[in-house]
Structures are given as C-alpha cells and as structure tokens.
C-alpha cells in the first residue's frame, strides 16, 4: 500500500512539472490608476444592466477541479459585493479564519495593485466592516447550526448579511434535502448564496455538461459557472443562468494571479 502511494506521488509530482501548467506573466491593466478605480472582478463582467446576476433567494455555483482557482474566484465575487457595500458572510469549511483573511488580502492586492497606495488602503479599511468570516469543520456544518449562528449575529446586532459565500460545501454526495433547507433559509432571509463545487477529472459529466456532483441538485442553482483549464489557460464558462456582458471578450483566469481577465 505504502509502495503504491509513493509511486502515485512520484507520478503526480511529475505532473506538476507539466510545462502546460507553467506560469505566464499577468497582463497589466493600464486603465486602473489613482482615482479611476475600474474593477476587473467577475460580477462586472457577468452582470447585465448593473443588476446582480443572482437574485434574492438564489444559489450560484463555481465549479472546477481542485487547484484551478475556485476559492480565488469566489473571493473575487465576495469582494465585488463588498465594493457594492453589501454585507458578505464568508463561510469556509476548509480553511481557518486567518487563511481566509490572507486569501482576501491577496486577491485585493491583485485587484488594487495599480491604484494609489493610500487610496487602496483606505478602500480596504472601508470594506472590512462589510465582511464577516465564519469557519466550520465540514462535519460540524449543518443548516440548524448555521441558522443559530445567523441568529446570534443579527440578534446581537453584530452583522446582518446580504450574501452568503460558502467555500468547501461537500458536494461529492450532495444531500438534496439539506440543500433545499438551506435554499429556504436563504429565501426567508432574503439572502443569496454562492458555493464552490469541486469536480473530478475521472467522473464523466452529464449529457448537458453538468458535472455528476450537481446532477441531482442542479435545479436548486440559478447560476452555474465553470472554470475549465484548457492548455495553459483557464476558461470561465457559464453553464447556467447568466450571460456575459455584451461586447466583452471571452473570460479567462490569469494563471499567475487567478484573477479574472478578458481573452486578448
């Protein structure tokens, strides 16, 4: 068994050196400077007529294989809401609070790297009160517990979320009833929720291109976005519920920063 695991790892580490996965430099955006905070975050590319693609009570999903950039994409979505002064409750079932904070800082640094330093810092400080991070162990995360925590936050006047962003929900064997309950909770409280969904290379997708993990629960989702690595590029494909803003070229993730960008 041990021998096999070491063999597997040797093969895997070889894969990591695949030239296709190599890092290419990110494109510098000249439109962002000082007082011109032009955002290159996912919702700006996907929304239509300044409307959020996800309506109240809606579910959105970001699908990708491990390591492709789901969390980075999700954080970009979260930052987008924060920049619109919407309260975002970020729930991680993978990482501790500190690591989530680091993710936010890293993504924000990439978004704001061409802004004036002071302006970026002030903007960041102004965003923090709109963010709340909660982390759970996967096995400890249930809908009643989430409801209890939401009550704690609102009753104590600590935080009243507009958007839930859930990273690491176990979709490998999704429980339809649980997700329906969660959807009801989201509806009742006039929230919207974004999820990451991990897909697997070895599992064939369904006839409509939907990954197996979502087949039984796809109807609960209003928007589904897939991140698909093809060669050295990661494409952002919209599988359900949204259209790309007109006139905007195809979306990609910059492999170096995992930030969304247009194909150019």
């Amino acid at each position: 068994m041990l021998k096999n695991s070491i063999k597997k790892r040797t093969i895997k580490s070889g894969m990591l050196r695949d030239p296709e996965m190599g890092i290419t430099p990110g494109r510098k955006d000249s439109t962002m400077h000082n007082n011109d905070i032009t955002l290159r975050t996912p919702l700006r590319f996907l929304e239509s007529e300044n409307q959020d693609i996800l309506k109240e009570g809606g579910f959105g999903a970001i699908l990708a294989r491990a390591g492709v950039g789901k969390t980075a994409f999700l954080i970009q979505i979260a930052l987008d809401y924060l920049l619109m002064n919407r309260n975002v409750l970020y729930i991680s079932l993978n990482d501790p609070v500190e690591k989530v904070c680091l993710w936010y800082e890293e993504v924000y640094r990439n978004i704001s790297k061409s802004w004036d330093k002071k302006q970026a810092k002030d903007q960041w400080d102004s965003l923090l009160p709109y963010r709340f991070i909660m982390t759970f162990k996967v096995e400890g995360f249930t809908i009643p517990i989430l409801e209890e925590r939401l009550n704690d936050l609102t009753e104590q006047g600590v935080f009243s979320p507009h958007v839930l962003v859930i990273d690491g929900y176990p979709f490998d064997e999704p429980d339809e009833k649980n997700l329906s309950n969660l959807k009801n909770l989201v509806k009742q409280r006039s929230l919207k929720a974004w999820f990451t969904v991990r897909t697997h290379r070895h599992k064939e997708p369904g006839p409509d291109g939907m990954p197996v993990s979502l087949l039984t629960v796809k109807d609960l989702f209003d928007v589904i976005i897939q991140l698909q690595p093809i060669g050295s590029e990661t494409h952002v494909n919209i599988l359900k519920g949204a259209t790309q803003t007109e006139g905007v070229p195809e979306l990609l993730l910059d492999p170096a920063t995992l930030m969304v960008k247009n194909k150019s």
Binding site: M1, L2, K3, S5, I6, K7, R9, T10, Y90, P96, V97, E98, K99, V100, C101, K117, K118, K121, D125, L128, P129, R131, F132, I133, M134, T135, F136, K137, G140, F141, I145, R149, N151, D152, L153, E155, Q156, G157, V158, F159
Partner: protein, 695 residues
C-alpha cells in the same frame, strides 16, 4: 564541558500558557541530572519549578522571564530557553527565538492548538525555527493527541506526523509506542526514570503499523534513499528514517510529533532523544549579521571558534552579584580576559567572569565556544546589543520592537520606595525594550508604558517584591496619537520689533501625511532664502511641535514637513526667531491639514465554549470591536476581533461573568486607527476639564 558544535542544541520551549511547559522543562532537568528532585509548579511544595526563578512567576504559575539553562543528554549539550506563554510578553518569546536553533512546541492534548500557540508558531515561522511538537497532558480527561495533530495541520498548516502512539489515554495512559523502533516504552520508577522496552501490545499492533506507514510515507518526501528503499522493499533502518525526518524538520516542512505527560513522568526521555536526533546544531543554521560599514549589508556568520567573535546579548538579569548578561556566541569564541566591543555604543569591554546557567544556579567556565549560550558578569549593556571583536562592525539583525500602547502614572509611597523605584525602572527598561519609563516634565509624575494591562501589572508587582518599592498607580492611559490626513501649506512670518534687536524669520512650505514613518523633515529651500545656519533651528522647532500635538497634546506621527521658501533679515534673524517662525508655520499648516486623533487597535482572540459565542460577539461589538470572524470547532469556538485598546480595560472580568469563567482571551497590538468623531469630542472635553483643573 562539551565543545563540539555538532553536539549542541540551543532550543526553546514555546507554548500556550498552562500547556505545562515549565513542568516539562523541570522534568528535562531532572532526567538530565541537573536537578535531583522534582517540584511542582505553582509553589505547592513551597519550592517551585526550577526554571521559574522569579518569585512572582512561582506564585502565578506562569513563566515571565526567559531563563537560560543548560543540561546534557547522551553526550549532547542542550541549552534551553524557557519562554513565557502570555501574549503580553511576546518580546521575550521573540528575543528567545532569535537566539534559538530549534524549538519544542508544547501543546495540551485536551486544549489543542490554542490562540497563543498560533502566535508563537507565527513567531517561529518568522525566525525560521525548526520544531518538534510535544503533545502533553495525555493523562487528562478528554485527551486526544490525534485531534491535536489534525489541528496542527488545519490551524498552523504544519505537515505534522506522529512519531509515537499513546498506550491508553486519560487515566489509562501508561506509555508510548515508538513508531521507528516499533517498541512499546513504559516509564518505571518513582519518577519515571527507568525506561522499559516491551513488545507492542497486541491491540495496538495494527494501528502502530498503519501509523508507521504514514510516517515513512511522509518522511520519504525528504530522502531519495528512503524512497528507493520503500520501492525496492529493502529493510528501512532507524538511521535512514531519522535522517529523512530530520531533513524534513530542519526545513520546517515536517513536524515530528511526540506525546506524553510531563506531570506523570511519561514520554520526556524520548523527546530528549528527539531533540538530539532531529533538531539542528548551530552549524546547521545560517545566521546573518548586518555590516554597519557597508550600509547594513547582511553577511553570513560562520560557526567557527577561530573567526573573530560576534555575540548577541539577548537577556539581562539582575542577580546578587550584579548584572548578568546572557549571550549567544554566533561566531568565534568568547574567553575570559578577552577585550570585546559593544557595537552600539563603541565601548570597549573586558570579559570577566563567564558562567553557564542552570536557572538561578551557575557554573564558572573559561570560554563560550561558537554556537553556545552563556552569561557574562559585570557588563553594562542593553538587551539586544551586539558584542564583537576589535575592528568588526557587525550587528545582529535588529528585532522588531513594537511601541508601547498603554501607560500609567506611578508615584512612590515613601522615600525608600522612591530610590528603589528608580533602580527597578532602570533595570526593567534595560531588560525589556517594550517597557518604557519617563518623567512627565509638567506634572513631575513618573510614567511607565508597556504592551498591555498585564505587562504593566507584572512590573509593578516585581517592583514591590524584588525592590521593595511600593507605588501608587494612576488610571491606565491609552497612547493616542495625532496625525494629519491631507496636505496643507504654510507661510508664516515671525516679526517682533520692541526696541533693541528685533526678531525676524519667514518659513514657508507644506505638511503632508506619510505612511510608515513617524516624522520626516525635508529642506527644499533654494537660493538661501532661509540661510543654511537656521535650517537646523527650523527642524528642531518642528520636532518640538510634534512631541505634543496642537489638537490634544498627543504625539504627532506620520507627518512630513517640507520647507521650500522663507526670508531672513541681516540683523534681526536668529535661531530663536526661526524657531518661533517654524512653530507658527507648523500651527498654521496643521490647522489646515485636517488633523485627527488615532488610537491603538488590538487584535483580540477569544476562545469560548460555542454556547457563549453569541454573547461574546455581542460584548466585543459593544466595545466598538470589529469582528473579523468566528471559527467553529464543535464544542469550542474562536472569535477574532479588532477592538480599540481604550475599550478593553476590565474585559477579563466581563468575559468571566459572561461565560462562567470558561472563556479566555489574548490580545496584541495590531495597528493605529482614527477614532470616531463622538469619541474624539469626548476626549477633547476630558482634556479641557483636565486643563481647567490644573489651572
């Protein structure tokens, strides 16, 4: 005395408060025969653990000062720095980590990775200190070492791997299975001093084999020979396995985990073996100094006795024979009778008595070789000073020292206390750079400042106990700061003509906010509109102005003053006139530069049973706290918030009553932030009332 560098281990024992690190150190000293009896911590038997050399520590059951001590184990010299666990004393931990080559991270098998362990671990990362973990208290109810290993991975991102498995847990904990030798180890004798090796109990064989496989799998990442041995299915020797694990541990990519119960005398000797086998010797670590002759370019130091000496004074202690200075020699050797130089002051120092310390007992030695830790007598220096041989202008990397965030006034109760207070403050400020003392020129009060309430409280108690100095303390004051938020110009003429020589000076320029700097002065005057001999008078005056801000008399920080024009008079201009002009210019510019008051914001981490999560968050919210997040860990939750220091006074009492004493919190300085308008107005009102009272 051992002088072979390869046989030396300079280690620290770092952990959350109450994880049992002092008990562990005590047992280490017992098994290495440095002490001959075991005392309990908290002074229950009136003696106290040997590493707690200060009476106050004995009473509180916590370790405040890092006492360095050395012992020997299987032909190796182990120098141990016992580090404090409370976050208020992290400068001590940081300083200790600076001189260490390796560390033992002690974790409680019940409490697991707690907030302070996270802080200490971050410090270890910063100084790249390789570590092994020891999961203590396996005999306690609720002990679960494998949960702690999971936490090491989840919370601290360590690649933690068990080197042992426990034989029984809680009250049944009787020994450990060594996964390398594949033997059960029991600890016999009155104090667990006799190790008995047995076959692994049948019920644990399968688990032991699985865990050994995991260990080999993890270790094989760091050794091609081991990977080969596994693939070719040849026998894996203990040496090969240890060497692979050591490679992983030295690069901090693998954390070997040991377990036991120091209090029940179990598992300590295998940990000592691990310290000698897995942690680095001084030559394994690259240390760098800064070359003061070459713009502080880092230069590597060689752990070689033959090279010129470079040593760092990392701790000062006031003993019965005078000041004892703990040093770590990085390069060369420090011998009795040598002449060395204090790089900071340039003063020549003759090395007198040299000792090796064993808590508060000492052993005279002739020299301290490269890589070793020892102590010098009768040397006047401050903590953090570098000593070097003649002609060597190197300084060890300066440590990051945070500014104090809280201060309070103290006044001695009688004449004797007054004399002793001065002595005590002079000692404490030398020992601990985060503790400061000064006399307020206006009120004549002595003001002490530090990193938190507990930090200051401990020094006041030490004053009482060690120096018999009784003092009355005032209310704690938060170290507010003033700053400006936008650029503003000034153009001020100071003119006085009252008979005799007049005064004339004009100063023009601007003020602007600056990040990461306290004060910057720039002279851009061209064509001599302010004669060069008066520029320094202007700078001096600006510096005076920022000591007491115009708005609320708090120090002004984050400000850049640029002067670019002015005027003078051939007869009436003088230094005094330009000082007055600069003061006027500063006040003029400052008023236009949107000044604000800033306050220290603390990072507060509360660990609480989950049922109190809501009320704890509420309590932080009420204190103007911004809650960053909460970590739900089943029965326990960890809440992280940023709260103004001014709101944190008395929080321990509030938290105790909210949670029936079941929650605990740690606090450390995070940043300075502008205070809300309402609070600023309140502060203004208080300051005005105070002024009226004084008048």
């Amino acid at each position: 005395m051992i002088t072979d560098t390869k046989k030396v281990r300079n280690i620290g024992i770092s952990a959350h408060i109450d994880s049992g690190k002092t008990t562990l150190t005590e047992r280490i000293l017992y098994y290495t025969q440095r002490i001959h009896a075991i005392h309990e911590i908290k002074g229950k038997d009136g003696v106290g653990a040997t590493m707690d050399s200060m009476e106050l520590e004995k009473e509180r059951g916590i370790t405040i000062a890092s006492a360095a001590t050395s012992c020997q184990w299987k032909g190796h010299e182990i120098n141990i720095i016992d580090t404090p666990g409370h976050v208020d004393f992290t400068i001590e931990v940081e300083r200790a980590l600076r001189v260490l080559d390796g560390a033992v991270l002690v974790l409680c098998s019940v409490g697991g990775v707690q907030s302070q362990s996270i802080t200490v671990d971050q410090q270890m990362k910063r100084y790249k200190v390789p570590s092994v973990a020891f999961i203590n208290k396996c005999d306690r109810n609720g002990a679960n070492p494998f949960r702690v290993i999971d936490q090491l991975e989840e919370k601290l991102a360590h690649n933690a791997i068990a080197m042992q498995i426990p034989i029984g847990l809680e009250a049944d904990f009787s020994g450990v299975v060594d996964l390398i030798a594949m033997k059960a180890i029991y600890f016999d004798g009155e104090n667990g001093e006799t190790l008995r090796y047995e076959e692994i109990p049948a019920r644990l064989v399968e688990e032991a084999e699985d865990r050994r496989e995991q260990l080999i799998d993890a270790a094989s990442m760091f050794s091609n020979d081991l990977t080969e041995a596994v693939l070719e299915e040849t026998e894996i020797s203990d040496e090969l396995l240890y060497s692979a694990i050591r490679n992983g541990a030295l690069t901090r990519k693998l954390t070997p985990v040991f377990m036991g119960s120091a209090y029940k005398n179990k598992g300590v000797q295998p940990l000592l073996d691990a310290i000698t086998l897995l942690l680095p010797c001084p030559a394994d670590i690259t240390n760098e100094a800064l070359d003061l002759d070459r713009d502080e370019v880092p230069v590597p130091l060689l752990c070689d006795d033959a090279k010129p000496v470079v040593a760092l004074a990392f701790k000062l202690e006031d003993g019965q024979y005078g000041q004892l200075t703990y040093v770590r020699v990085y390069q060369g050797k420090l011998a009795k009778g040598d002449t060395i130089y204090n790089v900071r002051t340039g003063k020549k120092v003759k090395v007198g008595r040299l000792v090796r310390m064993h808590a508060d007992q000492m052993e005279d030695i002739e020299w301290i070789p490269a890589g070793f830790i020892g102590a010098l007598f009768g040397i006047d220096c401050a903590s953090g000073d570098t000593f070097a041989a003649r002609g060597i202008n190197l300084t060890m990397t300066s440590m990051f020292i945070p500014e104090p965030v809280i201060s309070l006034a103290i006044s001695p109760n009688d004449h004797k206390s007054e004399i002793n207070m001065t002595k005590a403050l002079s000692r404490f400020t030398k020992e601990d750079p985060t503790f400061k003392a000064h006399v307020n020129q206006e009120t004549g009060e002595t003001i002490i400042s530090g990193m938190g309430e507990l930090h200051i409280e401990v020094y006041i108690e030490r004053m009482k106990r060690e120096y018999q100095s009784n003092v009355t303390t005032g209310m704690p004051q938060v170290a507010y700061r003033e700053t400006i938020t936008r650029k503003a110009e000034f153009d001020y003429i100071h003119k006085k003509q009252t008979g005799g020589a007049g005064q004339y000076g004009r100063v023009a320029g601007y003020l602007e906010p600056v990040d990461d700097e306290e004060f910057v002065f720039e002279n851009q005057v061209k064509g001599g509109s302010i004669p060069s001999q008066f520029i320094s008078a202007c700078e001096k005056s600006f510096r005076n102005c920022i000591r007491k801000g115009p708005a609320m008399e708090y120090p002004v920080t984050g400000i850049r003053v640029v002067i670019n024009d002015g005027a003078s008079h051939s007869v009436d201009s003088s230094e005094m006139a330009f000082q007055a002009a600069a003061r006027g210019a500063f006040l003029q510019g400052y008023a236009k530069a949107s000044p604000v008051i800033r306050e220290p914001i603390m990072k507060v981490v509360v660990e609480t049973p989950t049922e109190y999560q809501g009320s704890v968050m509420g309590s932080l919210n009420q204190r103007r706290g911004m809650i960053v997040g909460s970590q739900d860990e089943g029965v326990q939750s960890v809440i992280e918030a940023h709260v103004p220091l001014a709101e944190m006074f008395g929080y321990s009492t509030t938290l105790r009553s909210l949670t029936q004493g079941k929650a605990q919190f740690t606090m450390e300085f995070s940043t300075y932030k502008e205070i809300p308008r309402g609070i600023a107005e309140e502060l203004h009102k208080k300051a005005n009332d105070k002024k009226r009272d004084v008048a």
